[in-house]
């Protein structure tokens, strides 16, 4: 098992979550969850996910891969509290998810930074809406820290339109980190940035998470990305999405160290997951399912 690589979880985690020894009690429990979207015009319901059961342990980096349209995003949206499952339950620390909460933050594929706010104020957004609003000095300190963590020091007063895509996503990541949530939800966060920037950001993000020890629920369509970042990789089948296999990534960290990603084991794991997904892609085509 490649867990317990991470140091202690975030300070101030909900009611003092367990210490570094993390693999006992799941933080997120997904039990028999199905989800779908109603098509009012055709009076049908598209089932995106069927009977998904999954445990996410504190401090774990969980990567979810699957073909496009397999309901990965639906799953992360339900954990975030944007939508409710048709069947089944999702609990966090034993409490069912009723809506968005301070214990979770999200990084979006399309960045979703507020274009009318400067970098600094975009990050501040994540702190200013919470009810016991931190004192001003504390607020400032945390924003500065979060910006330093993602390498945006010096760009506090820039507007998003003045930044490249990769830098905009850094703003998105800083915004998610600044409130120090127990859980980071990431919906293909590096999907829209170019390959070189993506590589650099993955490496930085691995370091950041090693520092903060947050639980990460990371959606991706890239097998390499999943294997590079994940402690476990959840392979999801094509629509309706089910958990097809859970792959333990028994590779040492940092995965960006010389040779890890060129190792035979990395290749084996990639071939294995590739095989699973390829069968899915072919199956989906044969089944003739489409949106």
């Amino acid at each position: 098992m490649a867990q317990a690589v991470h140091p202690a979880p975030m300070r101030g985690g909900a009611d003092g979550t367990a210490g570094p020894n993390a693999s006992s009690q799941p933080l997120i429990e997904i039990r028999g969850v199905s989800a779908g979207y109603e098509n009012k015009r055709q009076k049908t319901r598209l089932i995106a996910l069927r009977d998904v059961t999954l445990d996410v342990y504190p401090g774990e980096f969980l990567a979810i891969v699957g073909p496009s349209g397999c309901g990965k995003t639906t799953l992360v949206n339900m954990i975030a509290g944007f939508m409710k499952p048709l069947e089944g339950t999702i609990t966090i620390d034993g409490r069912p998810v009723e809506g968005p909460g301070a214990d979770r933050a999200m990084v979006f594929q399309d960045y979703a930074v507020l274009p009318w706010r400067t970098v600094y104020n975009n990050v501040k957004f994540a702190l200013e809406n919470r009810r016991p609003r931190p004192p001003k000095a504390e607020l400032h300190r945390r924003i500065v820290e979060a910006l330093a963590l993602v390498g945006l020091t010096g760009f506090e007063r820039s507007y998003p339109y003045e930044l490249s895509g990769g830098m905009r996503q850094r703003v998105g990541i800083a915004r998610a980190l600044v409130s120090e949530p127990a859980i980071l939800l990431m919906d293909e966060p590096f999907g829209a940035v170019d390959a070189m920037t993506r590589e650099a950001m993955q490496a930085e993000f691995e370091k950041i998470i090693a520092q903060t020890g947050q639980t990460v629920f990371f959606i991706t369509h890239s097998i390499d990305e999943a294997l590079t970042l994940g402690d476990r990789v959840i392979v999801v089948s094509s629509r309706p999405g089910r958990v097809k296999e859970i792959v333990d990534v028994d590779l040492p960290r940092s995965r960006f160290d010389e040779g890890v990603r060129r190792s035979a084991r990395f290749g084996e794991l990639r071939d294995h997951i590739w095989g699973l997904l390829q069968a899915e892609a072919l199956g989906a085509r044969a089944g003739g399912e489409d949106a």
Binding site: G99, F108, A112, V113, L114, G154, E156, S158
Partner: protein, 281 residues
């Protein structure tokens, strides 16, 4: 506004910084102004030459100098001044009323579906209907007075404002809404911190369209309403008297007024929504 600098990225030390200062010619800021002045001068000179050659009947193509003298004497004799002031005053009051009604109602239509369902048939009917068609009815109801002129301005300007505000709220990027919610914004915060700022450029373009339509409303009200006041009246009277220089003078003043309003709004837009700059060169 031609260069984009990436904030206070680098401090001090020249050389390998991310942000470098740009040196531009001392004349660069004045270049467009100089071009405009030369351009307009050439335009009026050509006009003057054509008029002097009397290629076109001088009855409807006066000399440019005659037009400028008509403007000068018009103001000096108090012929133009009061009419211009009347029009501007009417127009601004009408625009203000239209904004006070149209913007909140449009935002409400965008946010609350039932309000949209109830109001939209009327809004779309009024948006599509040419405003001139309302003149006879309005004269019947309100007579030839100022009220009628004001009403037609309001009716012209209010609907484009409503439609734009509504579209703005409806097109708010759903992932910004999700970001707002995930970072703890509740309903009122979501409106004030996400939806309204997103809508602001739409509101401004609604006002812009309102200005354009409102000017048309103002003119048809003054031309056809027979109130005996305003720039439209001046235009009408100059036409009746075959006073070509005065007609051209009125048209020029109207053009200056419209350009002034549109440019003013663009200036406001740049100040109010600087983040939209990326779409401009």
């Amino acid at each position: 506004m031609s260069s984009v600098t990436a904030g206070p990225a680098t401090t001090g030390s020249a050389g390998d910084g991310v942000v470098e200062s740009i040196t531009r010619s001392r004349w660069a800021p004045f270049r467009s102004l100089i071009i405009t002045i030369v351009n307009l001068t050439v335009f009026f000179v050509i006009w003057q030459c054509i008029a002097l050659a009397e290629v076109v009947n001088p009855l409807f193509f006066p000399k440019a100098t005659d037009m400028f003298s008509a403007i000068y004497h018009g103001f000096a004799d108090g012929v133009i001044g009061p009419q211009l002031w009347h029009s501007i005053q009417n127009f601004l009051i009408g625009l203000l009323i239209a904004g006070a009604i149209g913007i909140p109602l449009g935002l409400l239509m965008g946010a609350v579906r039932i309000v949209d369902l109830i109001l939209s048939p009327y809004v779309w009917a009024m948006t599509s209907l040419p405003r001139v068609a309302l003149i006879p009815l309005l004269i019947l109801i309100l007579g030839f007075g100022n009220t009628m002129q004001l009403t037609i301005i309001v009716l012209s300007a209010v609907f484009p404002m409503m439609v734009n505000c509504m579209e703005g709220v409806k097109t708010v990027d759903p992932s910004l809404i999700r970001a707002g919610r995930v970072f703890g914004a509740r309903e009122p915060q979501l409106y004030f911190k996400v939806i309204l700022p997103f809508t602001l450029p739409f509101v401004i373009s609604g006002i812009n369209q309102g200005i354009a339509r409102g000017l048309v409303g103002m003119l048809i009200g003054e031309l056809l309403g027979g109130g005996g006041k305003g720039m439209g009246f001046l235009l009408d009277r100059a036409g009746d008297q075959f006073d070509a220089p005065m007609m051209y003078a009125t048209l020029l003043l109207l053009a200056v007024m419209s350009v002034g309003l549109v440019q003013g709004m663009r200036w406001i837009e740049r100040r109010a929504a600087p983040w939209r700059d990326f779409s401009r060169a």
